[in-house]
């Protein structure tokens, strides 16, 4: 139990992706290679000229759940997260008890509660709000007779963590991060350190994002973050890093990696897929989309990795970025790479699959990391769908075509609304 400083290596032994294009990593990547996407118009708008779109994970594989009844005890984003966590552990061939429970941990990046799922609580609440006034006495009187106590359990924001820990007998380190788009990456950073510092032998790290609710969408529209408007064609809407980008589309999704201490993984005969060379964090010190047109956090985050020797420029050929087609974020992010590498990144490519999968917020960096693991094992680099030109600089090429990858490191980055920036370096074994 004593914490030791050591050369413990952190490796990846399992991964999962639950997305709008399916829940098999290889199949989802194939979908991205072929320009697939799957967006649906959300509800109704006040315009006849077009709409607002979301990505929905259809045909969620609930067969992996140990008890189907748990579906009723959680909102959809937690269910998607739980399915992804169980799939990643299955991919790593972890079964209940195959890892010492006290040395098995879980860190999750999670979005806030999906309150739209909480009927009949809403019905009662709506009855009790009349003329912009809340009838507290009526609510108190009617509450217990009208609302199932289960609603309380559904609202827990740590449900993916809770149910996964019970299902897999995870008793070690754990945490549920709420850091917007960087939450899942934050989870991966913490899992890496827990293994490095000897507090865990294996940690499930990932993120889950649920279907956005109407009122959240309105905020995204008002800010210009979400693509919307006249004659919107969802297939060509998200244009990561493109000069002509016009906003993003929010999607459901979840992804987990199984991180393990290398010796422990070898001992149990695990299939080692990649090594996590290092991780880093920094922040902007403000909300990412409100501050200046320049990021200080992401370059600082990456420079730490370069200075630590974790990124080796002759080994690094691919950055799996956050790029979601948003008006402000993409250009700031792109410039961050130029700053971090002092414009010495002509031999690198930048990619993002959000034009295919949508902005999966808390899960996005984990999905990128899962794809990076497969690329390090021979899969091609997915192209950035709908890309035309950055209009800025050619010192960092955006990957516009499917291409093989021959180098041995991939940098995965995340820059979220909270200003938190995270970076992970994945390396070929």
């Amino acid at each position: 139990m004593r914490i030791t400083t050591s050369d413990r290596q952190v490796v990846v032994t399992g991964r999962s992706v639950v997305s709008t294009l399916g829940d098999d990593v290889t199949q989802v990547m194939e979908g991205c290679y072929h320009g697939g996407d799957n967006f649906t118009e959300l509800g109704s708008t006040n315009s006849s000229n077009g709409g607002v779109y979301v990505g929905i994970c259809n045909d969620l594989d609930i067969g992996v759940l140990p008890d189907k009844k748990v579906r009723k005890a959680m909102v959809r984003k937690d269910l998607i997260g739980l399915v992804a966590a169980l799939k990643a552990s299955a991919d790593a061939r972890i079964t209940k008890g195959s890892i010492n429970p006290d040395q098995f941990g879980i860190y999750v990046g999670s979005s806030s509660t999906q309150i739209g799922d909480l009927e009949p609580y809403h019905r009662l609440l709506r009855q009790c709000v009349v003329n912009s006034s809340f009838d507290s006495k009526l609510f108190g009187r009617e509450l217990s007779g009208n609302v199932n106590p289960l609603v309380m359990l559904q609202t827990l924001m740590n449900n993916t963590l809770c149910y996964a820990s019970v299902a897999l007998d995870i008793r070690g380190v754990n945490g549920n991060f709420m850091d917007f788009q960087s939450a899942g990456a934050r989870a991966a950073v913490e899992g890496f350190h827990a293994i490095k510092e000897g507090r865990a032998e294996a940690v499930l790290v990932g993120g889950a994002s649920g279907c956005p609710e109407t009122f959240q969408m309105q905020q995204g529209i008002d800010s210009g973050y979400l693509a919307h408007g006249e004659a919107l064609d969802p297939e060509s809407t998200i244009k990561p890093y493109s000069q002509s980008r016009c906003g993003t589309i929010l999607s459901e999704g979840a992804s987990f990696l199984v991180l393990e201490e290398q010796v422990s993984a070898i001992r149990r005969g695990a299939n080692i897929l990649a090594r996590v060379a290092d991780v880093s964090m920094a922040s902007e010190g403000d909300f990412a989309f409100l501050n200046s047109d320049k990021s200080t956090g992401l370059p600082r985050c990456i420079k730490r990795l370069i200075e630590a020797g974790s990124i080796e420029l002759d080994k690094l050929g691919l950055i799996f970025g956050h790029g979601n087609g948003s008006l402000h974020g993409d250009i700031v992010e792109y410039q961050s790479y130029l700053d971090a590498f002092d414009n010495q990144c002509k031999s690198m490519k930048l990619t993002s699959t959000k034009a295919n999968l949508g902005e999966t917020t808390e899960a996005s960096a984990n999905i990128a990391a899962a794809f990076a693991v497969d690329i390090l094992n021979g899969a091609d680099i997915p192209p950035v769908k709908n890309f035309d030109s950055t209009g800025v600089n050619e010192n960092l090429a955006v990957s516009a075509e499917r291409a093989p990858y021959e180098k041995s490191q991939i940098l995965v980055t995340s820059r979220g609304f909270s200003g938190l920036c995270c970076a992970l370096v994945l390396e070929k074994i």
């Binding site: 809403h122 609510f139 509450l143 609603v151 507090r199 010190g285």
Partner: protein, 419 residues
């Protein structure tokens, strides 16, 4: 892990017992209760009609809130005030590069107003003709997202080190402090603002706990309702408030001559992996969190003179935690005094770990153990020393703070006197 050590150089508190650190602490030591009839909404027809609310609160003109007021809710306003007190106390700002200052918080979902809630959720139609391209700062969803508060603190005090927010129910801010401790130890930052903010004094959140029967119904005697470890306990008392601690690398703190409350020397976090709504009867998970924290601290069991228990005043929690404490400290001589300050503050949920870690640091500073008020006759484990109803002298150099989260997350922190 490195030789870097972590100490506490600032504390700020807004609580049902006072709107600053020393007022709260004085009232804790005097055995006062923060409980009373709910004022935040009319609870006349509710099964529980009382809570521990913050009283006479105002953010004050001195807090440099800038343009971020519209990002704050009832709970995070307490949090900003607590942060201001902690930062003023530590005098850290201006002594470090912004990138050396992190933020690590445990925050609950905000106490959203029912009228706002209905207004937001009943809108089935989206307006896509909005011309305003700026974020709608007043949107309740952003105000009430747990992750917003950390960024507000970072923006106000120019913190550009790692920032993060943890939400593991009642273990949230205990874990947040543990993560801040580790970030400083591994060199990710030199200083970290850490703690939590939460409020149950709002109908939507309060109703959830009413529904599951977790709240005390001792409506006729609110100040005696929170009775951790007492045989007549009938549920917890909802609370609200915030506490922020300034954690700092010890050498840096010493070099600048900072006042040091105590040193964080151990942290354990575990999952119970049992049931979502229940604790394992043998206390596993809690036992392991305490064992890990003690082991990391390299202290002996007898060095720990006081445990600020999670002690919620609920039937199962108190019984299981007492069993866990008896298992961990079975060979300690003397055994630590176990007390729960929730008997006075109520349960601050996501902020509970932070305010209780603050009390632990103050206990180390003043060498005193606060009482557990309302504890008359315990039905919990007989091998635990539940102390007395009045404050007493702290024997031993270290103290422990436990947090047990709904859903199975546990945290345990060890803080010792820093000579």
């Amino acid at each position: 892990m490195s030789e870097r050590r972590v100490c506490i150089t600032g504390i700020g508190i807004v609580s049902p017992l006072g709107n600053d650190r020393e007022t709260t602490w004085g009232n804790i030591l005097d055995g006062k209760s923060g409980a009373g009839s709910i004022t935040a909404f009319d609870a006349e027809t509710w099964p529980t009609k009382f809570a521990c609310e913050v009283k006479d609160f105002s953010l004050g003109d001195e807090v440099p809130i800038g343009g971020y007021a519209s990002y704050l809710n009832r709970a995070t306003k307490y949090g900003v005030k607590a942060a201001y007190e902690a930062i003023s106390d530590s005098q850290i700002i201006g002594r470090l590069k912004p990138s050396d200052i992190g933020v690590s918080l445990g925050v609950g979902v905000g106490p959203i107003d029912p009228v706002e809630f209905v207004s937001m959720t009943e809108s089935a139609s989206l307006s896509i003709s909005a011309s305003d391209k700026k974020i709608s700062n007043s949107m309740p969803i952003l105000q009430n997202h747990p992750g917003t508060f950390a960024t507000v603190l970072a923006a106000i005090w120019n913190c550009r080190g790692p920032i993060s927010t943890i939400q593991t129910a009642c273990a949230s801010s205990g874990q947040a402090i543990g993560h801040a401790y580790r970030q400083i130890k591994r060199g990710e930052c030199i200083c970290c603002l850490s703690g939590g903010a939460d409020s149950l004094a709002a109908p939507l959140l309060f109703s959830g706990f009413c529904l599951i029967g977790a709240l005390s119904k001792r409506n006729s005697e609110p100040i005696t309702a929170s009775r951790p470890f007492d045989s007549s306990r009938d549920g917890f008392v909802a609370g609200e408030g915030a506490a922020i601690l300034v954690l700092e690398e010890l050498r840096h703190a010493r070099d600048r001559g900072a006042h040091i409350y105590g040193e964080v020397v151990g942290y354990g976090e575990t999952a119970s992996a049992y049931r979502i709504t229940d604790l394992p009867p043998d206390g596993r998970g809690i036992v392991e969190a305490m064992n890990f924290a003690i082991c990391e601290s390299e202290l002996s069991l007898s060095d720990i003179g006081y445990v600020n228990a999670h002690g919620t005043s609920t039937e199962v929690n108190d019984r299981v935690e007492a069993l866990a404490l008896s298992r961990v400290f079975s060979e300690a001589e003397p055994r630590p005094v176990v007390a729960s300050t929730k008997s006075q503050t109520g349960h601050l949920i996501s902020a509970a770990g932070a305010i209780e870690a603050s009390f632990c640091a103050l206990a180390v500073r003043d060498r005193v153990i606060p009482p557990t008020v309302n504890l008359e006759h315990t039905d919990c484990n007989e091998h635990v020393d539940f102390g007395v109803k009045r404050k007493q002298h702290l024997v031993g150099s270290a103290v422990m703070s436990n947090s047990i989260g709904f859903g199975g997350s546990n945290s345990s922190l060890v803080i010792r006197r820093c000579e």
